[in-house]
Amino acid sequence: MEQDRPQTLYEKIWNAHVVDQRDDGTALIYIDRHLVHEVTSPQAFEGLRKAGRQVRRPDLTLAVPDHNLPTTARVDANGNKIPIADPQSAAQLEALEANAPAFGIKYIGASDREQGIVHVIGPEQGFTLPGTTLVCGDSHTAAHGALGALAFGIGTSEVEHVLATQTLQLSRSKSMEIRVEGLLGPGISPKDLILHIIGVIGAAGGTGHVIEYRGEVFEQMSIEGRLTVSNMSIEAGARAGLIAPDDKTFAYLKGRPMAPKGADWDAAVAYWKTLKSDDGARFDKSVTINAADVAPTVTWGTSPEDVIPVTGHVPAPESFADPSKQDAARKSLDYMGLASGQALSDVSVENIFIGSCTNSRIEDLRAAAKVLDGRKKAEGVKWAIVVPGSGLVKAQAEAEGLDKIFTASGFEWREPGCSACLGMNPDKVPAGERCASTSNRNFVGRQGPGARTHLMSPAMAAAAAVTGKLTDVRELMGVN
């Protein structure tokens, strides 16, 4: 009977991966793809060694460094590797460089052309495929759901568990449908949409759920845009995001190095076409968003749910119904150096960061470059960097001349990595200063101790660079 009932996409992928079902509802789930980076893996490899265990499926595992890497030049003029100054970062990178070959895992090194942020290279290499289960010791693994993979972040003990067994013991999540009615207005990007969604459902709105994004807006959206949306599912507390694969997904994947070829490709596509929620499938929760309500959106506080249209004003803590939210808002405003009622367009920024696993793909760089073309960054902007998501994105951008636009407008053009998203490498925002950032978290201290983060889209970050203030990009681009 179970088979006859209409199923959600999540149920279909889940059911196809159950290795062993327990009576209490939890199941042993097979993991098809495992991405490994330097920060959350050393203790897992150490655990394997101590227990004398092997990696069960090195052929389903891919390792790449990204979090710690400085984004300045990695090789000198003579082609020699430039050593990493921070001894702890260097040790962590060396550990991955040694662990990967020791356990037979394919490793993309820091100076390889394919290196990049783990969530950028997975799709880019065709390692991420629809209908697969994919994990990584990083919460933004949710991004890969954009291609219809069930993808989620795990902790280091789970990394070790997957390395050893290629499975995870999981309890089934609830399903949430986010249906967006209508299309985005001119000058509104996928980042604005996901920030708006998080504002509506809250930072814990998706806890315990896997979100499926549905509606014409996603069908029309590029894969890059879908990756931005699904990436931030975790900021709404959701375990994973999903967008049903379609012809755009297949066209994106076709010919990618690790994607199937020839007859295998045809067989894969035939299967992938079955991967969508059936008509009448039941979701545990359903939320409808009106695309017309989405404006260029920025964060004002220290939780990704603290969003307002850039045309708005900083909210008063008393305006929140929940007393604990009022308290949190007071603390946020104090940390952010903002006053309630202040117009966002009056807020100056000293730093601009365009990059991160949320917004460092070619389309993001094109959107920012379009705003910056023929313009210079404002005098008050002290530091502005563009960090491509991978070596391949960087090469593509250079082939299109985007790097020239960025440098001409006063931006630094960097090497791929996580950069100023998380304060683990030299790219940090100074204490007390503001950053217009295309990353995913505005937590206290996220971009460096005391740093004040405003999350926004690449086009909006570029607009802020030009005016030195939080700015409605539509004004610069003559869009109404």
Partner: protein
């Protein structure tokens, strides 16, 4: 993993909502290749403020932490669980936890105990002066004032925590089922493996 049947003692009445893992342990502490010694960096940005609960001698060595909704949201860093453990916290009581944190806590034998906000409000009061007991067998949180709040946890997790089970061993015992799945996929989905040069 060590078995955990009961955690009792003073509780730190933190109470804050949306405590993210960057607050529990900031990025600069993630460069370690060990699991140990992270207690020193726990709640660094909170401890930088005068009069914070973590440095209040009243709560020195307290094995329980009380927080608000959505505890442990954000990054997947297990360092957050390691840092709490290293600072001596063995149980966290909050209305809800992020999915990843709750799993990381479980893997390290830390109890993530969900209780409704009304219970949290009461426990925050009690914590100021008296100890609290978390009992895994009866799945309850009690106070010296006859308060008794029961919580839910999936029975598998409850048993694993109480027995101190090594989950990898448990899964390895199912290697036949894992192999059967792999054989099934190999024959049905020829395209399944990534093409790696």
């Amino acid at each position: 993993m060590k078995p955990v049947r009961k955690v009792e003692g003073r509780a730190i009445p933190f109470g804050r909502k949306n405590v993210d893992t960057d607050v529990i342990i900031s990025a600069k502490w993630l460069k370690t290749i060990s699991r140990d010694g992270l207690g020193e960096g726990a709640f660094e940005s909170v401890r930088a403020q005068e009069g914070n609960v973590f440095d209040d001698p009243e709560y020195a060595g307290a094995p329980i932490l009380i927080a608000g909704d959505n505890f442990g949201c954000g990054s997947s860093r297990e360092h957050a669980a390691w840092a709490l453990d290293d600072m001596g916290v063995k149980a966290i009581i909050a209305p809800s936890f992020s999915d990843i944190f709750s799993s990381n806590a479980f893997k390290n034998g830390l109890l993530a105990i969900p209780l409704p906000q009304e219970a949290i409000d009461r426990l925050m009061e009690v914590a100021k002066t008296d100890p609290i007991t978390v009992d895994m067998e009866s799945m309850s949180v009690t106070t010296p004032f006859q308060d008794r709040f029961t919580f839910e946890m999936d029975p598998f997790r409850q048993q694993c925590l109480m027995d101190g089970v090594d989950e990898i061993d448990l899964t390895m015992a199912k290697s036949d089922a894992i192999e059967a799945h792999e054989t099934r996929v190999d024959s049905a989905q020829s395209w399944h493996k990534p093409v790696m040069a």
